[in-house]
C-alpha cells in the first residue's frame, strides 16, 4: 500500500539535504560559466594550439560520462598528492564538465552577435579584453540564456551522481531513508518531486529573467 505517512515523516530531512544539491549545482554553474568563457575564448582564438586545446577539452568532457569523471577525480587527486574533501572534488568535477557544455553554448551565441560590434569597439580603441568583457560576453550571456538555464537544470539532475563520492544530497539521503524504512517507492518518488520542484522553479526564473534582461 502506498504510504503517504512515510513521505510526510521523512520529508523535512529529505528537503534539508536539498541544500547540498543546490550548493553543488550553483557553484558548479558559476565555475562552469567562468571556465566556459575562458575555453570559449580559446576556441575562438587566432592561435592554433589554443584552439586545439579547447577542442580537446570539450571533446573529452562531453565524451566521458560524468560518473566516470567523478570517480576519476575522487581516486586520482589523492594519487597525485592532492587531498581535498569529497565535496570540493565533486563541485570541481561538475564545474569542469559544465564548462565544456557552456563554452559551446557561449560560442554559439557569440556567433549570433554581429561582427561589426567587435570591430566598432576595437575602432574606438577598446582593448581586446574590454571588447570581450564589456561588449561580447554580456550579449552572449543574454542570447544564450535559455540554453544556460537548460544547462543549470541538467546540472541539478547531474548532482544526483555525486552520491558515488559519498556526499549526502537528496539522492543519497533518500537511499539511506529507503534502506531504513523499507519504503523505496514513496521515498524515491518524494525525492523525484523535490528535484522536479527545483527544476520548475529554475525554468520559471529563467523565463522571467529572459523577459527582464536588457543588455
Amino acid at each position: 500500500m502506498f504510504s503517504f505517512q512515510t513521505i510526510l515523516d521523512n520529508f523535512p530531512v529529505l528537503l534539508s539535504s536539498a541544500r547540498y544539491t543546490l550548493l553543488i549545482s550553483v557553484l558548479g554553474c558559476f565555475e562552469g560559466l567562468v571556465l566556459g568563457a575562458v575555453i570559449c575564448a580559446g576556441a575562438l582564438s587566432s592561435k592554433l594550439w589554443l584552439r586545439r586545446i579547447a577542442a580537446l577539452y570539450v571533446s573529452f568532457f562531453r565524451g566521458v560520462p560524468l560518473l566516470i569523471q567523478l570517480l576519476a577525480a575522487y581516486y586520482l587527486l589523492p594519487v597525485i598528492g592532492i587531498n581535498v574533501p569529497a565535496l570540493v572534488a565533486a563541485v570541481l568535477t561538475v564545474g569542469l564538465c559544465a564548462a565544456a557544455y557552456l563554452s559551446e553554448v557561449l560560442r554559439g551565441s557569440l556567433n549570433a552577435i554581429p561582427k561589426g560590434q567587435a570591430e566598432a569597439a576595437a575602432a574606438i580603441g577598446m582593448a581586446p579584453r574590454d571588447v570581450w568583457v564589456r561588449i561580447l560576453l554580456p550579449q552572449a550571456l543574454k542570447i544564450g540564456l535559455p540554453a544556460i538555464v537548460n544547462e543549470l537544470i541538467l546540472l541539478v539532475k547531474a548532482s544526483s551522481l555525486v552520491t558515488v563520492v559519498g556526499i549526502v544530497e537528496i539522492t543519497r539521503m533518500s537511499q539511506s531513508i529507503a534502506a531504513a524504512t523499507y519504503r523505496p517507492l514513496e521515498i524515491y518518488l518524494a525525492a523525484a518531486f523535490i528535484y522536479l520542484a527545483i527544476n520548475l522553479v529554475i525554468a520559471q526564473a529563467g523565463r522571467v529573467l529572459e523577459r527582464r534582461l536588457t543588455v
Binding site: 502506498f2 571533446s59 573529452f60 562531453r62 565524451g63 566521458v64 560520462p65 560524468l66 560518473l67 566516470i68 569523471q69 570517480l71 576519476a72 581516486y75 586520482l76 594519487v79 537544470i153 541539478v156 539532475k157 547531474a158 548532482s159 544526483s160 551522481l161 552520491t163 558515488v164 537528496i170 539522492t171 533518500s174 537511499q175 529507503a178 519504503r183 523505496p184 517507492l185 514513496e186 524515491y188 518518488l189 525525492a191 523525484a192 518531486f193 528535484y195 522536479l196 527544476n199 520548475l200
Partner: protein, 219 residues
C-alpha cells in the same frame, strides 16, 4: 598487468556487451515509444495532451538515477518485479522517450503544412502521410538532435551500474575493489567511452548526409 587482464578480461567483455545492448535497446525502444507518444499527441484526442505533458515534464525534470531507483527498488511495491537489466533497459526507454518525443515534436512542427495538405488533397491516408511525407521531411531537421540524444544515452548507461546491472562500469568497479588498482582502470574506462561517443557521432554525421542528400545534390 597481463595477469589482471587475463583474470578480468572476460568479465569486462561481457560488461561491454551489456553496455552496448542496453544502449542499443534503450535508444531504439525509446525512439519507438517517443514516436508513439508524439503520434498520439498529434492525432489523438485533445485531452491526451495533458497526461503526455505531465509525463514529459516529470521525466525531464528528475534525475535518471532517481527514476531508476523508483523503478527498480520501488517497482516491487506495486507488483513490478524486474531484474536489474530489464529494469535498466526499461528505465533508459522511458527516459529516452520523453526527450525523443520532444525532438520529434519540433521536427514534425517544421514540416510545411502545405505538403501535408497536398498529400491529403490527393487522397493519402493518415498512415501514408506520416510514413511518406512527415517522417522523411522531419528527419532532415530532427536528425542532429536525435543523434545528439543517442550520444547522451550512451553516457547514461553507466548509471545502470548503480542498480547492479553488470555492464562495463560495474565490472570495472568490481575489478577496482578486488585489485585495489584505481587509476588505470578508470582512465581506460574514460578513454573507452570517449572513443565510443566519437564513433557514434561520426556515424551520426554520415547518417545526416544520407538524409539530407537530396537537398545538396540539386544545386
Amino acid at each position: 598487468m597481463m595477469e589482471t587482464l587475463h583474470r578480468y578480461g572476460p568479465d569486462l567483455l561481457t560488461g561491454f556487451g551489456l553496455t552496448l545492448l542496453s544502449w542499443a535497446l534503450g535508444t531504439l525502444l525509446g525512439l519507438v515509444l517517443g514516436f508513439v507518444i508524439e503520434i498520439a499527441r498529434r492525432f489523438g484526442h485533445n485531452l491526451l495532451g495533458y497526461p503526455i505533458r505531465a509525463y514529459v515534464e516529470f521525466i525531464r525534470g528528475t534525475p535518471f538515477l532517481v527514476q531508476l531507483f523508483v523503478l527498480y527498488y520501488g517497482g516491487p511495491l506495486i507488483g513490478l518485479r524486474l531484474d536489474a537489466l530489464p529494469a535498466g533497459i526499461l528505465g533508459l526507454t522511458i527516459y529516452g522517450s520523453a526527450y525523443f518525443t520532444e525532438i520529434l515534436r519540433a521536427g514534425f512542427d517544421a514540416v510545411p503544412l502545405g505538403q501535408i495538405e497536398a498529400a491529403r488533397a490527393i487522397g493519402f491516408r493518415n498512415t501514408t502521410i506520416v510514413s511518406r511525407i512527415m517522417v522523411p521531411v522531419m528527419m532532415v531537421s530532427a536528425l542532429p538532435s536525435l543523434v545528439n540524444f543517442a550520444i547522451i544515452l550512451t553516457k547514461e548507461t553507466v548509471i545502470l551500474s548503480m542498480i547492479t546491472v553488470p555492464e562495463i562500469m560495474f565490472q570495472t568497479q568490481t575489478m577496482m575493489s578486488e585489485t585495489f588498482a584505481f587509476v588505470t582502470p578508470i582512465l581506460i574506462l574514460a578513454l573507452f567511452f570517449w572513443g565510443f561517443v566519437e564513433t557514434i557521432s561520426r556515424f551520426g554525421r554520415r547518417l545526416e548526409r544520407r538524409f539530407t542528400h537530396y537537398l545538396l545534390d540539386r544545386s
